[in-house]
Symmetry: C2
Amino acid sequence: MLIHVPSVERLIEAFRRLPGIGKRTAERLALHVLSAPAELAETLSDAVRDARSRITTCDICGNLTEANPCTICADERRDHSVVCVVERPAGAMAIEKGGTYRGVYHVLHGVLNPLEGIGPAELKIEGLLERVRRGGVREVIVATNTTAEGETTALYLSKQVSALNVAVTRIAHGVPMGGGLEYTDDQTLQRALEGRTRL
Amino acid sequence: MLIHVPSVERLIEAFRRLPGIGKRTAERLALHVLSAPAELAETLSDAVRDARSRITTCDICGNLTEANPCTICADERRDHSVVCVVERPAGAMAIEKGGTYRGVYHVLHGVLNPLEGIGPAELKIEGLLERVRRGGVREVIVATNTTAEGETTALYLSKQVSALNVAVTRIAHGVPMGGGLEYTDDQTLQRALEGRTRL
């Protein structure tokens, strides 16, 4: 039986360390990898190792990249005077998919969380302030999440950046496009009402 | 941006080949692997390669195993006269977790599916019949799934094994333990009624 085979248990444990993968899913993935032609396992193993060894964080914005600086920071057609601050690379990826944002990014790699001992020094905040101090930045858009930690971080950044006489904005929060009021939670509705704009 | 980085796209594609992993999940997994300490990627890469290279299929029952024959086929305390036929290794794993089955297994590695060109020769059916012909088997329990293909396969096996004068049984289908009638689908209820037993 596979349950007590060490190499399989290590594989299941490795899958379980990925986000959103529980015990059952990890077992299913492991069984698939072991049942499928060996090529699938080799491709996956190589892809994980290869991508992880090639990818680094951009010295300027902290986003994940192969080149350094990243293609966005190196792109002269982007507007380098507008910096969008996100918690993680996934946030920048999500905005980039929209295809309309022409500014650049700054990835914090986390949010302020005093309970877990994460203060400004643990995040890429000094790098952001340094970019602003160096000049050329006219607006910092804070796109941290709407969690308590994300909001705290937004407030902290707002004070720090404002002190350098650069505009700080927060992305709008409200009812999602196509989302009906009846499917929207209380807090989002409250934000949507507070953030109402004139037609 | 990571979307057009070849090594990352290969990683996302590799994750997408796993069962139940769509585009968004694959992207999330890839971003996690790339953001987390390199040790996570190395562990995963090694675990996939190592497990796949160690695991083979048992020459007797076709189940996935490191040893050959597998620990179940090699276990003299198991009842080798009862053979439970499952579609895939996951089925044997599920039954084995129950911890009460003392017989052995036979893994078909699929089900009959004429539309996809999968006939008896594409499955490990001849191996099963050979085991039965060799003698010592008194019962074959068919535990293929309750899909049309699983039922067709069960019927086919029933005819082939019966012709060798060995008993063929089908696992019971009915209302799951702890499942209320109101949450049970029509077909399962019908099966549960047809398969009623005297109290």
